[in-house]
């Protein structure tokens, strides 16, 4: 247990140090690097929301893009997951294998053609463009995870519905969807988290006022400007919603992160 606690301290130290730095003025970050005692200031907080970074706007962008992707991914993934979990058809296995193989797809391989395509479709620097790009990783993920949840549902549920004269579609809508809500929430939160943290697509597809949080954080450290205080304020603010997501997801992290290979 002692070793675990030491490891935990190593894990937590960067957070602690970041929080400390976020409360120092820039002058102090340079002059009093290792000091633990200093007069805390909110100066960095104001500068993060100032014109240089526009953190408020970036957070709004991140929120719109992450929730937009989540809604689209869930809306399309849940019927697909249901079909893959319950229907028997010839290509089922192949489709499932294809979907899971998309988990390995390197974003860098997709980002080049997507950037070229979206440039000609005028989708660069729009919410729709980023959301579409994010669906490339969140949709396969959502299909796969939801499929795992739906396979676990008792078959009697739908059989009863069919006996009552429900069609496949209404059985899905009235029976399966409501009982899948816990699985859907877990999936949605994962998707939201991935989108919230995503960087490569965001840096390639957004400019200026359309930048999401991870891109804006980078603006504080450039050849022309080094403002560590702002970096840490923005990091801390962007991490707060993650704690909420994490709290709900705790028990499902293994399942989500291994695409259901370990439950």
């Amino acid at each position: 247990v002692a070793i675990l606690v030491i490891y935990l301290l190593i894990v937590l130290f960067p957070f602690f140090w970041g929080v400390l730095t976020s409360l120092k003025t820039n002058a102090e970050i340079f002059a009093n690097r290792f000091g633990i005692i200093f007069a805390p200031t909110l100066q960095n907080f104001y500068s993060a929301f100032g014109p240089d970074y526009n953190y408020g706007r970036a957070a709004e962008n991140s929120l719109i893009i992450a929730s937009g992707t989540t809604v689209c991914a869930i809306a399309m993934a849940s019927p697909a997951a249901y079909a893959l979990a319950r229907f028997n058809f010839r290509s089922r296995k192949n489709i499932m294998n294809w979907v899971i193989s998309l988990r390995m797809m390197p974003p860098i391989a997709i980002v080049i053609p997507i950037f070229l395509m979206f440039s000609s479709l005028n989708l660069v620097n729009t919410y729709a463009g980023v959301i579409l790009a994010y669906l490339t990783f969140s949709l396969p993920f959502a299909v796969w995870l939801l499929q795992g949840f739906m396979v676990d549902l008792p078959r009697e549920l739908e059989e009863a519905a069919y006996l009552d004269g429900c069609s496949r579609y209404s059985a899905f809508r009235k029976i399966i969807l409501p009982v899948s809500v816990p699985g859907i929430v877990v999936t949605a939160l994962f998707v939201f988290l991935f989108c919230w943290n995503e960087f490569l697509f965001a840096v390639v597809l957004t400019r200026g006022m359309m930048n999401t949080i991870p891109v804006v954080v980078g603006k504080a450290i450039t050849p022309y400007r080094i403002e560590w205080g702002a970096v840490f304020v923005m990091t801390i603010l962007s991490v707060l919603p993650i704690f909420v997501v994490f709290y709900v997801l705790q028990r499902h992290i293994v399942r989500g992160m291994t695409m259901g290979a370990v439950k």
Binding site: V1, A75, I112, M117, F199, T258
Partner: protein, 279 residues
């Protein structure tokens, strides 16, 4: 079943439009020489050029393999060790395990900047000085140290995933077996080697494969910490593709290189299927 198609259509339609089509487009791009607005069909030249290039094998592939091998091994060993320690019923151990998992939930970019601050702005050196080690320039001048810095960040962020998966696996090892061997007088090492390890084989494989796939794709931390430098000494695969495509506007070569990455990862994903099927 015709009904199945209606359920699948929206998701598959989007996936075909956003993944399959771009991949085809990218393959076409990789057969062309593209520079700014010029473009000319060159067949497989981009591939031939890459696969016969000493830089590609000796630098990009070599560095990526070293990075992946070191990180995955370290994550597995540390993760396994921690999981063994955490797999017991002690008050507070659940909370402790939960906190250990935090790093992997955070944006890689923020994690990378935080570490850049720790490396460059001296606090790590400050600690090293305290135990009598002189200042180390972590990033920017020494190739080995720059690579080591990247590895430290990657290992710090992703060991929790290995830890968590392995802990889940260990909790699934039946307690009665362990007690039976204990009564038979097996040593701790023998129990680990002959009981726990065989039972954990599949889980360990899942960890290794998942982490290998993801470590191969590492981009964010390279972008933030070293930008491939000093020189090209940390020019790992994804970053090399980015550099060729978005900094040198050499989309053809970049597309060809990204295809090679896809092929490498496809092999890994095939192995992953195998493991899943043993379920």
């Amino acid at each position: 079943v015709p009904g199945a198609f209606i359920f699948l259509a929206p998701a598959l339609g989007i996936l075909v439009a956003l993944i399959l089509f771009p991949l085809v487009y990218s393959f076409w791009t990789s057969l062309n020489y593209i520079f700014y607005t010029q473009s000319r069909f060159v067949g497989l030249d981009n591939y031939v050029e890459l696969l016969t290039s000493a830089f590609f094998w000796g630098n990009t592939v070599y560095l990526t393999c070293i990075f992946v091998a070191v990180c995955v091994t370290a994550e597995l060993l540390i993760g396994f060790g921690l999981a063994m320690l955490a797999n017991r019923e002690v008050r507070g151990i659940r909370l402790l395990s939960t906190l250990l998992v935090l790093p992997m939930m955070f944006p890689q970019v923020s994690v990378a900047y935080t570490w850049r601050y720790l490396f460059v702005w001296g606090i790590i050196n400050h600690f090293l000085n305290m135990v009598g080690i002189p200042d180390v320039t972590w990033i920017g001048t020494d190739p080995t140290l720059s690579m080591l810095s990247l590895m430290i960040v990657e290992i710090w962020q992703w060991t929790p995933l290995a830890f968590l998966i392995l802990l889940t696996g260990l909790r699934g090892v039946p307690q009665d077996i362990l007690e039976a061997v204990k009564i038979d007088g097996a040593s701790a090492w023998a129990t680990f080697r002959y009981i726990i390890l065989p039972l954990m084989k599949r889980i360990v494989l899942v960890v290794v494969l998942l982490r290998t796939m993801d470590a191969f794709k590492v981009f964010d931390i390279v972008y933030v910490l070293t930008a491939g430098g000093p020189g090209v000494s940390t020019d790992i695969f994804s970053y090399d593709v980015y550099r060729k495509g978005f900094l040198a506007f050499n989309y053809g070569t970049a597309a060809a290189e990204s295809y090679i990455l896809i092929i490498i990862l496809s092999v890994l994903v095939l192995l992953f299927y195998r493991v899943m099927k043993e379920d």
